[in-house]
């Protein structure tokens, strides 16, 4: 494996631990003591050197539903000293880390009021047959990862739906409960250095997964194209599970098993505990980064078209975006609250040490929603926030305003570049671009 060869492109690591494990099967207790991932070592062999050479770039999406109001979102000042209108007020403590990109346009045909925007931004094309035509941007990045989890999907509002898609009709169902998220990342299959996995069943489980793989491949040979694609995804999932089963313990002294969150977050007076759930999940995701359990996450804070009762507002969020008169103060209050929660996540990353800096240094956390002006389902003035510099490959703390309604795909292409993904274009049709957005790119 040679993950450091360019620093920016982490080609898919094929860690063939299975081969090692196979030799250890046969009933003997399997103790897996594999060497630390080379990717975490710099050229002189010390762990956790510099962002981008020793420390990996990481990507996250924070998405919420129902849009914003451009006049209450877009700063009027460009550059580093940008102002914070009402909806962005919560960014104040982390402003130096957050770049606001305004005036961009999602160039899909806008056939679905709350679907065309996310489809356009995340997959570069409008919905076709009710689904994305290809993987969402987080999954393009996830496909290049060899961590215990290629990606983690969460949702604060209870739902099985997500815009994180590995391909058409291939949604990545989110974890909606902080305890379930904890169990998944830090439960049974997770061990700290020295805890040593000695479960003889792990080797046997991997043998079973190999047999499932054989059956899936044999079945594929009898199927048409669409079904072969579906089983490819199944096979990919099996490979990922095998990786998980044989993953070495994290090699970072800052990695700790976090406290177990509450098992249940019941609604209070008919209103979900969005803040408590989001913060519990954020804390887990931050530790998952520290422990290098994943480098990619996708958070559905709330769903498109959701009618969640936020705060003490008098109606559901979606109803308010359409029916609240005037300047829509309640909508403003809701979006301000949500952006405050984005800021919580950013702040948590910015105050968690790693190497010589913080976790946020290595991150790009995209914050966005499904439309710009919720009342009209508009796709111009598309709201885009980016936190973190992805190891100096992006310019943080900046307001870039497009005066010409530029293609929002440019932002995505810059993000993919910052993550070291070697693609030269993003988007299909009108949304296609071969250039990123230079103004938000960094020097790294």
């Amino acid at each position: 494996m040679s993950p450091r060869k360019t620093g920016r492109s982490s080609s898919r690591l094929s860690l063939s631990r299975r081969t090692m494990l196979r030799g250890l099967l046969g009933g003997a207790a399997v103790t897996i003591g594999l060497p630390a991932l080379e990717i975490f070592l710099n050229d002189s062999g010390t762990a956790y050197a510099d962002c981008g050479t020793g420390i990996p770039a990481r990507f996250g999406v924070f998405y919420y539903g129902n849009g914003m109001i451009p006049a209450q979102w877009n700063p009027t000042i460009t550059g580093p000293d940008y102002d914070l209108p009402l909806m962005l007020a919560g960014l104040a403590p982390v402003k130096q880390h957050v770049t606001v990109v305004s005036g961009m346009r999602v160039l899909t045909t806008n056939t679905s009021p709350h679907g065309s925007g996310p489809a356009g931004l995340f997959s570069g094309a409008d919905l076709v047959d009710d689904t994305f035509v290809g993987p969402s941007i987080d999954q393009v990045i996830a496909a290049e990862q060899a961590t215990r989890f290629q990606s983690i999907e969460v949702a604060v509002q209870r739902s099985t739906n997500s815009w994180s898609m590995t391909g058409p009709h291939m949604v990545n169902p989110p974890e909606t409960n902080p305890r379930a998220l904890f169990d998944r990342i830090f439960g049974g299959g997770f061990s700290l250095p020295g805890e040593g996995m000695t479960d003889p069943r792990i080797g046997l489980r991997i043998s079973v997964l190999d047999a499932v793989t054989d059956q899936s491949r044999r079945l594929q040979s009898r199927l048409g194209y669409a079904d072969r694609q579906r089983l490819d995804q199944h096979l990919e999932g099996i490979r990922q599970l095998e990786t998980q089963l044989s993953a070495p313990p994290p090699d970072n002294v800052l990695c700790m098993r976090p406290p177990e969150p509450d098992a249940d977050y019941p609604d209070v007076d008919g209103r979900p505990q969005m803040q408590a759930i989001h913060r519990a999940m954020s804390d887990l995701l931050v530790m998952a980064f520290t422990c290098d359990q994943t480098r990619v996450f996708f958070e559905m804070f709330s769903q498109p078209v959701n009618n969640t009762l936020f705060l003490d507002t008098a109606a559901g969020h979606h109803s308010l975006t359409h029916d609240e008169p005037g300047d829509q103060p309640q909508v403003g209050e809701i979006v301000q609250f949500i952006i405050g929660e984005y800021a919580y996540l950013v702040d948590k990353l910015a105050t968690t040490a790693e190497g010589a800096g913080t976790l946020l240094d290595s991150c790009a956390i995209l914050g966005t929603t499904d439309v710009s002006y919720g009342r009209t389902h508009a796709l111009d003035e598309y709201p885009i926030l980016i936190a973190g510099s992805a190891c100096d490959r992006l310019r943080p703390g900046w307001h870039y305003r497009s005066l010409t309604g530029e293609n929002a795909s440019k932002v995505c292409l810059s993000l993919l570049g910052a993550m070291g993904i070697g693609v030269t274009s993003y988007g299909i049709g009108a949304a296609h671009t071969t250039v990123g957005l230079g103004d938000i790119e960094g020097t790294g």
């Binding site: 009933g27 806008n110 056939t111 679905s112 009021p113 709350h114 679907g115 065309s116 489809a119 919905l127 009710d130 689904t131 290629q150 999907e153 209870r158 739902s159 099985t160 739906n161 590995t166 009709h169 949604v171 990545n172 169902p173 974890e175 909606t176 409960n177 080797g203 046997l204 489980r205 043998s207 079973v208 499932v212 899936s216 079945l219 009898r222 199927l223 669409a226 079904d227 694609q229 579906r230 089983l231 995804q233 199944h234 999932g237 599970l241 008919g270 078209v305 009618n307 009762l309 008098a314 109606a315 559901g316 109803s319 359409h322 029916d323 009342r375 009209t376 389902h377 508009a378 796709l379």
Partner: protein, 553 residues
């Protein structure tokens, strides 16, 4: 809450303009539902069936199958720990033909497989599955015998030699490693439970010439049992498949009749109602308790149980399905009874008959539908009207245009009621062209608040629930129910949606003839749901297919 729930309770995400594509175009819809004069020629009898392929088990089918195969005492992980169903098309059965298994799903199915296998091999249960006495920990003959029998049930067909060899190999190698026959067999069972041949229904068909395929006996058994029972075939049905009994009309009819008489058929009828009426959103009903003081977490699930019970009752008794829009019979628990202001039945979900002057139009007057198709603090004539158009009449409504102001006027002294406020909205032509088709129907249900409780006044003004549905006037909700009862599109729409759910796809142009025949059969059977189910199983559209495309489109 699934995607379609989001769609059902609020305007759509992710469906795009393809709501229209659900149908054959408006002209096609109309012709499907036009009554046919006796003796008139049937122009669409040539069938071009849909492509065959894999269908992933729903969470309910997974759970039901495990219970049927391993025993009702097996604890299956809750749905939240299984790959969730998707219904971006509006029907999870249709999405079952396109969904895959996510990375998380693979891990969840793996965990569930070991959980179930361990329970099956518990000393108290293992005799159900292992009838031989193992002579050693790695007794391959005994393991093979057990896995062959379980494999037949789990794969819904006999295992191939290769598959049986692999499962036996896993079981004996694991048994040797763990020095226990049953511990090893757990791994063999866990393999079967994680195989794509269990998690997906392989309904591929075999070539019968002319580019068409027919499903073989085992494939038919699987199609029948998942449609009619929402679970896996039983041993008798697999026996029918093996003997060739399902290869001819008479055998197929006999098996179908047996299945419809089996108690499990109620599961199939309930699954149909669940998908048809879009009731999954009732798990996460959002209502403001300061507006609707009677709301509590059990209201949604109870309301769903009421509606499913009524449809199941119609299924059992063969009652004319049109009367779903007029019936005064229902099934309530104490909570619902208090919300309907009627005396609670002695047992939960016992039969209750509303008074003759009850304002409620059959299931359209159920709390389930009235609360689901409404907002957290108010009713929504638009959502209710769209439900009637799309789910009861198969008359799709396009997405709202983008870039337009979607607000309706606030309540005021001049406009105290939603009817008056919506009227202003409808005067804007680009809104009105669709909203008139929805709101006018939905206003017929305005005498029920956003939680489905009856009311006479809104903001102190008497409620006017009159209107007309495509030229048929009604004075109130009961009359609206009667208008839908009398509308031939209603039964055509039931037929079409049951066919979608049964076959796992949205009907294509090539199936018009099959649908026309099914609609005629439904009518001649007195609109009995169970007879419609039987007709669908016997139809060519259910039994035949074309191959899936070999190459990328």
């Amino acid at each position: 809450m699934t995607l379609a729930t989001t769609l059902a309770t609020t305007p759509a995400i992710a469906r795009g303009a393809s709501v229209l594509a659900l149908c054959l175009g408006l002209a096609g819809c109309a012709s499907l539902d036009t009554p046919i004069a006796p003796g008139a020629p049937r122009p669409f009898t040539e069938l071009t069936p849909a492509p065959s392929g894999l269908r992933r088990l729903s969470a309910a089918q997974y759970t039901n199958s495990v219970h049927d195969i391993f025993g009702d005492d097996i604890v299956v992980p809750p749905a939240s720990r299984l790959e969730p169903d998707v219904d971006s098309s509006g029907y999870l059965s249709v999405d079952s033909s396109s969904v895959t298994i996510s990375r998380r799903g693979v891990a969840q199915y793996e965990a569930a497989a070991y959980d179930i296998a361990a329970q099956a091999m518990d000393a108290s249960r293992r005799a159900r599955f292992v009838t031989c006495a193992p002579v050693s920990a790695d007794d391959a003959v005994c393991a093979r015998t057990a896995l062959e029998a379980l494999g037949l049930r789990l794969y819904r067909r006999p295992l191939t030699r290769e598959e049986l060899d692999a499962a036996t190999g896993i079981a004996t190698a694991s048994a040797a490693a763990l020095t226990d026959f049953y511990d090893g067999l757990e791994f063999g069972i866990a393999l079967l439970l994680q195989s794509p041949s269990f998690l997906f229904r392989e309904e591929l068909g075999h070539d019968i010439g002319d580019g068409q395929r027919a499903y073989d006996g085992f494939e038919m058994a699987s199609r029948m049992s998942h449609f009619l029972w929402n679970t896996t075939p039983d041993a008798e049905l697999l026996g029918d498949a093996a003997s060739g009994a399902l290869d001819d009309e008479a055998g197929l009819a006999a098996a179908t009749e047996r299945m419809l008489a089996d108690p499990r058929a109620e599961q199939g009828a309930r699954e149909f109602a669940f998908e048809w009426l879009g009731l999954s959103g009732l798990d996460d009903l959002v209502k403001d308790p300061s507006v609707y003081t009677q709301i509590s977490p059990e209201v949604g699930p109870s309301a769903r149980e009421e509606t499913l019970s009524v449809v199941a009752h119609f299924f059992r008794t063969g009652q004319d399905a049109r009367e779903l829009m007029t019936t005064r019979e229902t099934f309530l628990d104490r909570k619902l009874a208090s919300m309907y202001v009627v005396r609670a039945p002695r047992e939960d979900f016992g039969l209750v008959t509303f008074d003759e002057d009850s304002p409620r139009p059959g299931i359209l007057g159920h709390i389930s539908i009235l609360a689901l198709y409404a907002h957290p603090v108010s009713t929504s004539p638009t959502l209710r009207g769209r439900f009637v158009r799309e789910r009861l009449l198969c008359d799709p409504i396009p997405q709202p245009p983008v870039g337009v102001n979607t607000a309706i006027p606030e309540p005021s002294a001049d406009a105290p009621t939603l009817r008056v406020r919506l009227a202003a909205h409808q005067e804007i032509e680009y809104c009105g062209s669709c909203h008139r088709r929805m709101d006018g129907i939905g206003l017929g249900l305005e005498a029920f608040d956003g939680l489905g409780r009856f009311r006479r006044l809104e903001n102190g003004q008497p409620i006017d629930a009159s209107g007309d549905l495509d030229g048929h006037a009604f004075e109130d909700a009961r009359e609206l129910g009667q208008v839908i009862h009398d509308d031939t599109r209603f039964t055509g729409c039931i037929t079409r949606q049951m066919y979608r759910i049964a076959t796992g796809h949205i009907e294509t142009e090539g199936e018009r003839g099959t649908l026309r025949e099914l609609r005629i059969a439904f009518a001649s059977g007195g609109y009995s749901l169970s007879q419609l189910m039987e007709s669908i199983v016997m139809s060519d559209g259910f039994r035949r297919a074309v191959p899936q495309a070999e190459e990328a489109p």
